[in-house]
């Protein structure tokens, strides 16, 4: 029995749509790997040696300047594809934010397999186009929104993304959730400093828009206010 049979993202990841024989041969190429929170999987500017599907957990994609400034340029959730196929180097580092489980492939093997399986390439194309859309809307946030708009947008996005990954049914955005980010990571995602993030969180709490039961927990009390703030 291939491990794909028990894979929880089997029907959402790019492997969906492959027939049994294809799945067996893809399965033979890849292997499961556990990554602990904080552990890197791919390094920026390194040769692109591996690609992967996220099975469980959340990972960040980052780029850094020489002097150590960091920008989170993407976040990968279960069923997302990570790594840079068909390219020599990867343009971002990938680091686990939570303990995670991924299904990794050598890039060369994956490239070859993908080129022989148009349906897989199509899935990857759809995913990449959707990711590009998301990335572009994040550019608007980074370039044109102020701190409170950024935080509001971020919380709304979190409440949607985290609902999707925890519930199988479409139960709508989560009212309460646990952030997979530290304050510093929120800052790196929004192009702010940790102090500004902290002050904006405090302000939302004081204004009764959210509750913050613990460092990572968020409860949205007034979604309408958040929507208005997000602009």
């Amino acid at each position: 029995m291939s491990s794909c049979d028990t894979c929880v993202v089997r029907n959402r990841a790019i492997c969906s749509g492959l027939d049994d024989a294809e799945l067996v041969s893809l399965n033979n190429m890849g292997r499961r790997r556990n990554v602990t929170a904080g552990e890197p999987l791919i390094w920026e500017d390194d040769d692109s040696l591996l690609v992967a599907n996220v099975i469980e957990g959340v990972l960040k994609l980052t780029t850094s300047t020489e002097d150590g400034r960091e920008q989170i340029v993407g976040v990968a959730y279960p069923s997302d594809f990570i790594g840079r196929p068909f390219g020599q180097t990867s343009s971002a580092s990938v680091v686990a934010l939570t303990d995670a489980r991924v299904c990794v492939f050598s890039r060369n093997d994956f490239d070859r397999f993908a080129r022989e399986h148009p349906e897989l390439e199509h899935k990857l194309l759809e995913r990449t186009l959707a990711e590009l859309d998301r990335t572009r809307s994040w550019m608007m946030l980074l370039g044109r929104k102020n701190a409170s708009e950024k935080i509001a947008t971020f919380l709304l996005e979190m409440s949607e993304r985290l609902a999707d990954s925890t519930c199988t049914a479409a139960t709508g955005p989560a009212k309460r959730f646990s952030l997979p980010f530290s304050r510093q990571q929120v800052a790196d995602l929004l192009g702010l400093t940790i102090e500004t993030v902290s002050r904006q969180f405090t302000k939302l709490k004081n204004d009764g828009v959210v509750e913050l039961p613990s460092r990572r927990e968020v409860e949205i009390v007034n979604r309408g206010a958040l929507l208005a703030l997000a602009g």
Copy 2:
């Protein structure tokens, strides 16, 4: 004779790699269209009705907030593909920056054709992955660079992109070029105001890093200094 035979981007656009018969059928689906500077081709949030290859000219991809703030989220040069295949709505508006010539297809026709031609989908995938890389490195600029770093990075990128599209040989980055952007558009690209852009240009001129013979012309006098400033 199909118009593809005389297409100047024939060997660089996603159509490269198609055989003669495929090219004829693609050609029958599409049509040439001229777009004058400032003219929109695709509207944000509209149904995605058409996609296109850029033959000549430069176009901007933008997203806007309700209150009129604009962020340029991409720039399309000759041989680039624009529009949102395999999706219901397009996440960005496309507007010509210069007079341009494009090869447009109905999205439905294109989607169908693409699904039947894996080689074309593969080209589109490679292009989309490369665009995602570029977009992510622009996120670092928007989120973490200051005004002078943004301007320096922008000028270096222009000198590379504009060299590519004007010279067939790889002559390296252009020392002198004509910006396809107004000052306001540069601001919209970098997440700045027009005043800050203007002041930074003036500073670079006063520091002897660039010459600005006219509004749109730029000559890079000291590339090393720009590289250092870009961070």
